[in-house]
Structure formats: structure tokens, C-alpha cells
């Protein structure tokens, strides 16, 4: 995964509450067996007529936001379905960072796993950033210093330290977890004693994918 340290770009406003992942990527795009190629699926129903003809007017289709790399969204962004396709489609479009006053739990984790930075800010700061985004402002999000920069102004944000560390380093989470094999094996031993009726690992279980 590519590290996220600092990113500057156009911020697009999406001033709606409770934008769900069904809106971000509708059902018909969930039949793919690939992670890539979902750019066209992003907010598809808002951007296309039922017959597939593009509809003008959605924020990400208008200059300057058609080149946006930051999304400033209303409260509780990404709620609903666990579909990681939502994070994949945003990343495919070029979005590197989502800013909202609340980001739904599963979408938040999916974002991190794709190097997409989720930033939560208080409602009053969100309203201010939304106003800037509506003017087509360029923002910088500095994860190292935990600030959002616009011109001379810097707005601090709070982020979970593990999320920050992982995104800054761009680590492979599975590789990291596998490095903790001794700790995982210890839990397996503990659970084998507590719940002996469940299938517990025989030596060298594990099948290649």
C-alpha cells in the first residue's frame, strides 16, 4: 500500500447527511470479481439516466470538482452496506481523502485498507470546509502534522494513532499480523482449552489459495 503523508488537491462538496454505500456504488456493480475498474460506477445513479445516458450536474462531473481528490461530505458518510466497492470506486476516481463530521465504521476501515484517508472533524469545521469546497478551494491534508491547510490557515484534526501510523508507513496489514504469530497461537491455545468442542487447529492446517 502506498504511504499517505501529505496530499493537496481540489475538494468537492457533498452537503448531504447519511450518504450510504448503495449510493456510492449501486448494486449492479457488485458482480465484479476485480478491485479495479469501478470509476464509472461511482455515484452512478446520480450521474446517469436509467438508460445509461450521462446526466450533467453532479458535483464530480463539474469543473473544477471533476478533478477533485478530496471529498467533503455531510454527517455519517458511508453508512449501510459493507461493500468495499465504495472505497475502491472513490480511489479509482482519484479521491485520496474523505472529510466528514462522522464516518461510518465499516467504510472507515475499508478506506484505511485502501490507503484512503478518512478524517473526522467537528460539525462547525465541517461546515467551514464545505463552504470552501463549494468555492472550489484547494486543500492540503497533512497526516504527519494532523492538520488541514487552506492558504495561510491550518485546522488541526484528531485521528486514531494506529490509523495514522499505518497510513504513514503504507504497511501490509496481513504481513504485520503474521509477524504476531506467537500471540495468535497463544489465543488459539487459550480458546482450545475454553471451547474444546469447536474444531481446533491440527498441526500445519492451512490450504493454499
Amino acid at each position: 500500500m502506498k504511504p499517505f503523508i501529505r496530499h493537496c488537491g481540489i475538494a468537492a462538496p457533498l452537503p448531504l447527511a447519511n450518504v450510504d454505500t448503495d449510493q456510492i456504488v449501486p448494486k449492479q456493480f457488485l458482480k465484479t470479481v476485480e478491485r479495479r475498474g469501478l470509476k464509472a460506477a461511482l455515484f452512478y445513479d446520480q450521474r446517469h439516466a436509467p438508460d445509461g445516458t450521462p446526466i450533467a450536474g453532479f458535483v464530480l462531473d463539474q469543473a473544477p470538482w471533476n478533478e477533485a481528490t478530496i471529498l467533503v461530505a455531510g454527517d455519517n458518510f458511508g453508512c449501510g452496506s459493507s461493500r468495499e466497492h465504495a472505497a475502491w470506486a472513490l480511489a479509482d476516481f482519484g479521491i485520496c481523502c474523505v472529510i466528514s463530521s462522522r464516518i461510518a465504521d465499516i467504510f472507515y476501515n475499508n478506506s484505511i485498507n485502501n490507503g484512503l484517508l478518512p478524517v473526522t472533524v467537528p460539525a462547525d469545521l465541517l461546515a467551514h470546509l464545505m463552504g470552501l469546497a463549494e468555492l472550489g478551494a484547494r486543500l492540503c491534508v497533512d497526516l504527519e502534522r494532523r492538520i488541514i491547510i487552506h492558504g495561510e490557515d491550518a485546522y488541526p484534526f484528531v485521528i486514531d494513532e494506529r490509523v495514522r501510523a499505518r497510513l504513514l508507513a503504507g504497511l501490509d496489514p496481513i504481513g504485520e499480523a503474521q509477524a504476531e504469530e506467537a500471540a495468535i497461537a497463544a489465543i488459539e491455545g487459550r480458546l482450545a482449552a475454553a471451547t474444546p468442542w469447536l474444531p481446533h487447529p491440527a498441526e500445519a492446517e492451512g490450504h493454499a489459495a
Partner: protein, 472 residues
């Protein structure tokens, strides 16, 4: 400081590694459920990295999201939608190659993943359970810590049997009082979401307590925990009790013989200590609760059946006001109008929320001896092949058929419209599913969430109807 712990604390402590420097842990996963939509990229990722599935015996695959609800006995070759067929075949192949048990389409044990896990006795108290599906919260009804994950985390769990995660806050929702007739778990869930909002549980695990929760059947508790994700919480929990144990006894993957006694002894330790501290507490009195119906495009947009549609103009927050006004436009409804009497075109009885035997019995009781209203098309989709067989043994299929409802084969079906069952633009549906998002059941479709009894009442009257009046 008190050492009292919540049920969530206890499950966490048994399954998590020590906190790392940055405050997170690896959570060991006891049961990993797979389906066709969220798993193909995870297996591809494993393959690319040359990684194995760590615990195939703790993993179970089902086919549910995009399968047709007719002619399943034809097998995957009978699936007309080519993309869906490829995705189903991909899961079949991935499971076979990695030694994971899979219930194929048409196998009576197959069905909606959150119906199958409990039905097979795979879901057990005290477990940690994940699945690439947000409604994994359903399994919390058994006192298991269960939640949805994305595909990258599916890959993580396949490879390591763990999830990197941070502990959530403890929240408790107490449902006080006794439920009135024709008011049940679905109404409790909708009323709670209306009260706290779809983001109200963000960052928390909710434990459900109170007289009304204890009195629910396991099916009802599953409905309640299922909808927990619609409040934004990571998971819902109900402490296991005698009903939980009675439900599990004799199920194929439940412990047997001496193991059963050992399991019972362990499961009886799984409850919150009396003086355990919760970060948040919500109390809801259900003794006067009426059947609940959604009016908008978020599961928090809910009113009682005798209420009128609220006016978004009275909302202070501008983003919320815009969202709710757009929702009313989409739903073609006006503020101040009564929700009861709204004409409907379609009825869907099914989904991981309400497709279990008790749900089907509740719907059958209402439609028995009545007929589906003219112009209305109604589908009943059981949650699994075994639920379907049980319903047929009880004669429920004949009651539905006599009333003019279509009796289908199991799957997720019209809850998310990935298979051929979906709404046409502008159609209005009384649905027992969990999400009324724009386009969820088909582009331009309008969804009203409600209980199985209420959906059945809508089917026979052609309108959103108070089932209590219909049955009085």
C-alpha cells in the same frame, strides 16, 4: 475502580491480543462466513501474495446475494445472469481449492448467510464472528460478538484468522415493558433507530436488555440484532439464556453429549456483571409501542402507523434538512399526510431481517383466508432451504398460495435486488427488509420498512395498513 465487565468486555478479552503501542489489537475470529459478493477479490489477493487460508474448518461459504429465487435445482448453469454465474462459480472454486465447506445453491442447508449460521448451530455464544456483510450483527442474538467487514478484511481473516481492530465503546439499550399484540422485534429496532439515528451507535457495541428483549424468541432477537448496523453500531448483543440454549440443542454443528454440558457451563458465564459500566445508555418503553413504518430513504425515517409524515422544514441542520426533503421527493410523499392508507404496488417478505419461520408464521396468520389486493404483487422468500421445508411442513406455503402471494426459493432476493427480483421505477413496496435507501430494491423503487405482519396487512389491503385494526 470496579473490575466489573460487560459481556462485550469478556468476549473481547478472551479473543484479543494485548494492546499494541498504538492502542489496537488483533481479534481472533472463531467463525468466518463467506458469500459470493465480497469474497472473490479476497481470494485473488491471497493468491497474488502466495498466502494460505489459515483455518478452513472455521470458515463456511454460502450462495445467497445474487442467486435467483426460482429453479435453483438446475444448479449454477441455470443462472441466467452471466456476471452473477461467474461470481458464484468463483466462490465454488475458491472454496473447493482451499478446503472450505460450501453449501451450494439448491442444497437445503443453503440460504441467507445470517439465517444459515444460526440454523446450523455454527453460531454459538461467546464466539467472534465476521462476514463480508454488514448484517453480520444478526449473530449477536446468541451473545456472539459479530460484525460486518470489507473485502480487504475478509482477506486478512482468511490469511490470519484475526482482524486488526480497536475496542468499541459499551452502549446499552434497555427495552422496558411488555410488547402489545402485533408489535415485535422489527418495531423495536425501527423505533430505536428513529430515536438515536443511523449514526447514533457509531463506535459502540450495543447490548440489548430488558423485559421486552428477554421475552423475544431467538428469531426476534436476531431481527433486533440484525438492524443494529442500521443504527451505525459495530455489533449488537443479547446475553445467552435458556431460550438460546434450547434453540441450539441438537443443531448439526452444536456440541453434543459431554461437550454439550461443557459448552453450557461456559455459555452460562456469558453475561455482563451486575455493576458493569456502560458508556451510554438508552431506555425505550415498548408498552405503548405501535407498529412502525419508514417514510423516507434512511432507516431512521420512521413513524408509528397512526402518525403523519414529518416536515423536514422543522430541521435545523441544513445538510439534514436537504437530505430529508430529497427523501420525501424521492418517495413522492408530503409532510403532514398520514402514513396509513398509502397505496402500495409490491410486497416483499424475506431478507436476513425477517425470513425465518416465525416471520413467515406471522405473515401467514394475517393473509390466511384473505386475498392479495388487486394490482399488488407479493413475494415470500424464505431465508433458507430448511426454513422453506419447515414452512411447507406447516402448510404455510398453501396459505400464501391461496391468498395469491408467490412462494419462492431462498436467497437475499429483493432486499437488494441483485437477482431478478426487483422494483420497477416508481413502484412502492411494503418490505420486511432492512434498508430503504434510494434505489436499494431497484432503481427508482420506493421502500417502506415494516414487520412481516404489517407487510402482510399491506398485501391484502393494497395500502399501508395498521395490522392491529385489520386483525381486531
Amino acid at each position: 475502580m470496579s473490575n466489573a465487565r460487560t459481556l462485550y468486555d469478556k468476549i473481547w478479552e478472551t479473543h484479543a491480543t494485548a494492546l499494541g503501542d498504538s492502542g489496537d489489537s488483533l481479534l481472533y475470529i472463531d467463525l468466518h462466513l463467506l458469500h459470493e459478493i465480497s469474497s472473490p477479490q479476497a481470494f485473488a489477493g491471497l493468491r497474488e501474495a502466495g498466502r494460505s487460508v489459515r483455518r478452513p474448518a472455521r470458515t463456511l461459504a454460502v450462495f445467497d446475494h445474487n442467486i435467483p429465487t426460482a429453479d435453483q435445482s438446475l444448479g449454477l448453469v441455470g443462472v441466467q445472469d452471466e456476471e452473477a454465474r461467474v461470481q458464484l462459480q468463483t466462490l465454488e472454486r475458491n472454496a473447493a481449492e482451499t478446503g472450505i465447506e460450501a453449501f451450494r445453491m439448491g442444497d437445503p442447508r443453503n440460504g441467507i448467510v445470517h439465517v444459515v449460521g444460526p440454523e446450523q448451530g455454527r453460531t454459538q455464544p461467546g464466539m467472534t464472528i465476521v462476514c463480508g456483510d454488514s448484517h453480520t450483527s444478526t449473530h449477536g442474538a446468541f451473545g456472539a460478538l459479530a460484525h460486518g467487514i470489507g473485502t480487504s478484511d475478509v482477506e486478512h481473516v482468511l490469511a490470519t484468522q484475526t482482524l486488526r481492530t480497536r475496542k468499541s465503546r459499551n452502549m446499552r439499550v434497555r427495552f422496558e415493558g411488555a410488547l402489545p399484540p402485533y408489535v415485535g422485534a422489527k418495531d423495536m429496532a425501527l423505533a430505536m433507530i428513529a430515536a438515536i439515528g443511523t449514526g447514533g451507535g457509531t463506535g459502540a457495541v450495543i447490548e440489548y436488555v430488558g423485559e421486552a428483549v428477554s421475552s423475544l424468541s431467538m428469531e426476534g432477537r436476531m431481527t433486533l440484532c440484525n438492524m443494529t448496523i442500521e443504527a451505525g453500531a459495530r455489533a449488537g448483543l443479547v446475553a445467552p439464556d435458556e431460550k438460546t440454549f434450547a434453540y441450539l440443542a441438537g443443531r448439526p454443528s452444536a456440541p453434543h453429549g459431554a461437550d454439550w454440558e461443557a459448552a453450557l457451563a461456559y455459555w452460562r458465564t456469558l453475561s455482563s456483571d451486575a455493576d458493569a459500566r456502560f458508556d451510554e445508555e438508552v431506555v425505550i418503553d415498548v408498552s405503548g409501542l405501535a407498529p412502525q413504518v419508514s417514510w423516507g430513504t434512511s432507516p431512521e425515517d420512521v413513524v408509528a402507523i397512526e402518525a403523519t409524515i414529518p416536515d423536514p422544514g422543522s430541521i435545523d441542520d441544513p445538510d439534514r434538512r436537504t437530505s430529508k426533503s430529497q427523501a420525501l421527493d424521492y418517495m413522492a410523499l408530503k409532510p403532514g399526510e398520514p402514513i396509513a392508507g398509502t397505496p402500495i404496488d409490491r410486497v416483499f417478505i424475506g431478507s436476513c431481517t425477517n425470513s425465518r419461520i416465525e416471520d413467515l408464521r406471522a405473515a401467514a396468520e394475517v393473509v390466511r383466508g384473505r386475498s392479495v389486493a388487486a394490482g399488488v404483487r407479493a413475494l415470500v422468500v424464505p431465508g433458507s432451504g430448511l426454513v422453506r421445508a419447515q414452512a411447507e411442513a406447516e402448510g404455510l406455503d398453501s396459505i400464501f398460495a391461496a391468498a395469491g402471494l408467490e412462494w419462492r426459493e431462498p436467497g437475499c432476493s429483493m432486499c437488494l435486488g441483485m437477482n431478478p427480483d426487483r422494483l420497477m421505477p416508481g413502484e412502492r413496496c411494503a418490505s420486511t427488509s432492512n434498508r430503504n435507501f434510494e434505489g436499494r430494491q431497484g432503481r427508482g423503487g420506493r421502500t417502506h420498512l415494516m414487520s412481516p405482519a404489517m407487510a402482510a396487512a399491506a398485501a391484502v389491503t393494497g395500502r399501508i395498513t395498521d395490522v392491529r385494526k385489520l386483525m381486531s
